[in-house]
Symmetry: C2
Subunit: 177 residues, 2 copies
């Protein structure tokens, strides 16, 4: 947002940059070094626009061939820890295959709109079994990046790049042509 | 496909694996080492299922602020080189944002279906300005991975992983839960 001083309308222009806090709550850590490096790089780049926090929670343990009740119990356990990690007064975006897909431009407009009223935005990526309905209901928005399934480590890189791109679109840089 | 010998119906079972050739025609090379490593890893894994060839073509040069006619000329130049690189009798899949999105399971079914009649499958990823209509018209299928825009280097990793996942689904491994 730009303000002009009424006293010096043409010579004093300054930009008020609102501090945005982005928290990424993710399940599991990244084993492959190349994907870890990719995530670290996008977090570094994103830090030019916002305070970024990556919160890696442990995936609930499951037996080799888990039953549906094993999976449900694991999702419940993960949900409790995810919900506890969401900062107060956050706009919560849960990544879910049934969520809404958006173009990069629409996603940027969504983020820009959110930042008018909230300074904390929290993105949640579930484990390989997804997210419990409890987390989905707690979210303000369900976002889908693709109909396809990706390993959650790669998916994390895709989300970080999408958010980085959104801020570039908002700021009008050359990154998104 | 499995055949049983009529002479030894219960003791001689062998699998006939049809050789599948996958060619990925892409524009530009990957500068970031972590994305290059990610692409190399998925190509290595995919080689368990098919003969894989990555064909990197040079992006056409453009001025800093290209006009639409500059971009059209670049896409035409790239199209000629892309079309020349497609092996004869290939099933051609062009990646395009307006293409069809599929779940990983449907994509695997599509690949399995294609391999009944074709042994060459060719995937084409355009440059940051996309693909010329000439290439899209030459394709048997237009596939979209997401409504969002991704850097084409990251997009290459996403496509390689999706194809690797499709073969795992076809072969019934544990990779895709």
């Amino acid at each position: 947002m730009q303000f002009r001083s009424p006293l010096f309308p043409y010579c004093l222009t300054f930009e008020v940059t609102k501090l945005i806090n982005l928290k990424f709550i993710v399940l599991g850590n990244i084993k492959e070094s190349f994907l870890r490096d990719a995530a670290a790089e996008y977090i570094k780049r994103l830090s030019a626009f916002a305070k970024v926090e990556l919160c890696e929670l442990k995936e609930a343990r499951l037996p080799d061939n888990p039953s549906q009740s094993h999976i449900d119990a694991a999702l419940e356990d993960e949900a409790a820890r995810i919900l506890a990690a969401i900062p107060p007064r956050s706009h919560v975006v849960a990544l879910a295959v049934e969520g809404k897909q958006m173009s990069s431009e629409d996603f940027a407009a969504h983020i820009e709109n959110v930042t008018q009223t909230a300074s904390n935005i929290c993105f949640i990526i579930g484990s390989s079994h997804g997210l419990s309905d409890k987390v989905k209901r707690a979210a303000d928005y369900k976002l889908s990046l693709s109909k396809m399934t990706f390993p959650h480590q790669l998916f994390r890189v895709m989300l970080l790049e999408s958010v980085y791109r959104a801020f570039n679109i908002i700021k009008g840089t050359k990154y998104h042509k």
